[in-house]
Amino acid sequence: MLLALLLALGAPLARAAAGPDLEAPRYVLGRGLHLPALDLTLAGYTSLRVRGLEGGDTRFDLHDLALFLIWQPAPRWTLFAEIEGEELATVDGRGLNNGDSELVVERAYVDFAATPRLNLRAGRFLTPFGRWNLVHADPLVWTVTRPLMTTVPVPDHASGVLAWGSLPLAAGNLEYSAYLDGSESLDPVHGEAEFEEVHLPAIANDFDHAAGGQLRYHFLDEAAQIGVSYAAFDIDRGRGHHHAFGADGLYRWHRWEVSGEAVYRLNSAAGTRDDWGAFGQLVVPLHGPLYGVGRLEYYSSGVLGEDVGRGSLGLALRPVPPVTIKVEYHDGNNHRVLPDGWEVSCGILF
């Protein structure tokens, strides 16, 4: 956060120094520090969070501090890395705690633009399943919490190779991605991923092996999009082979936004029922940069043996585009997994 503040304060100076010379380093809040001479961009985001959940103390949390490094050493090549510090500092009834903090490589990959419509990626990347997982950073989403169905049924990271691109189709644009994952042998932190924000057994949520892909159609000048996703995978700790199917949609109209996702996961283990879930979310402009947000979600998990429904109501303030301040109250039917309560966050892209 301090780094973000320093960069923000330095932005006008950097811009003034740059003037019309695009070869000079320049910083733009929300767009990072760009060093044209090195074809390098340094950027990131951070979020602070306060939560008061039933059965627990009010807790203040420097939740995320993520740094992006984007390097384009040649026209066709891009290297991207996201290094994230999680749970960096927590203050609750027991005082300051930073013992749970950790530094993780969220994403690290190299992209090669084979043609204008085909890119090849190798490394660790976000699993292209659903929409939320691909834009999950706090400043980008409308709520403090993340729907359970966007994180439990399909692991959120993959390690391997990915082909992706964009094709014109009718009046819109079809984005595609297809991947092969070999996390068990390729991911150095394999087996360490855990669910966030929920009280679930300490099980890892990593692929062993996976293959899948996504199609996403953007139309109405990108105001609308629909996506379908598929993943076939073996998950860590030998819980069998799974097939997951997802569908999602989003429509923006005059600052209103309606979105939703659904997932169905076939579980192969004998005696285990399938997982399925869905959420729908509505964003309503209230006054200026203030928005009202409502969401309903449900997730039924055979693997976990839990059914969870939850409703969330909140406000989101976006005073300037890279900054989002949110307050939210949620109430559900499974307090063991998702306790009721309120949460506040402040996220900033820098």
């Binding site: 009718a170 984005e175 585009p321």
Partner: protein, 178 residues
């Protein structure tokens, strides 16, 4: 709205044909989705009040409207030869930028912030911003792969005009480019 804009964008390569390869049920579904948008745009009568020249480094090939949209959405970052494409923008409050953004992308610069926040999260930055039409002409003139836009009357022989876009909002009077 979309068709009107497409018709207004004339490329030197000729007009862009439109086909409808979808099944009828999908068209009906889309029509339902379009109802909301149609109620808004129906009241906004458009009239052609200016023309923008899309400019590129000398020797550049003509650009189709669809390619231009992909470039300004950050979805096309290299050309067919594998050279980097460098799109440029004017500042967000510049009348020329706003007219270009509305005519090509269907949205004003401030309405694209959420879009670019998401792209940025994936390491894709929005177009560089230059301070003036003259700065855009100068940068495009000396930078292979650069693409920009200026009022048609401001385009000169330092750059190649690769497309023309008619806009529905008034453009400022053309000052001498040099």
């Amino acid at each position: 709205m979309q068709d009107a804009r497409t018709a207004r964008c004339r490329q030197r390569t000729g007009s862009i044909g439109r086909t409808q390869p979808w099944p009828r049920w999908l068209s009906l579904l889309l029509a339902v989705l379009l109802v909301g948008g149609a109620s808004v745009v129906a009241g906004a009568e458009e009239r052609v009040t200016g023309e923008l020249a899309v400019i590129a480094h000398p020797g550049a090939a003509p650009l189709a409207r669809r390619e231009l949209v992909e470039v300004y959405r950050g979805k096309r970052r290299v050309d067919d030869a594998g050279e980097r494409i460098v799109p440029l923008n004017l500042p967000g409050d510049d009348d020329v930028r706003r007219a270009f953004s509305l005519a090509l992308l269907g949205q004003l610069p401030e309405d694209l912030e959420a879009y670019w926040n998401e792209r940025y999260f994936h390491g894709i930055s929005p177009p560089y911003v230059v301070s003036s039409v003259e700065a855009m002409l100068r940068f495009v003139a000396v930078t292979p792969g650069a693409i920009g836009y200026v009022p048609r009357c401001a385009a000169d022989d330092r750059v190649a005009v690769v497309a023309l876009i008619e806009v529905a909002t008034p453009l400022p009077a053309c000052a001498p480019a040099r």
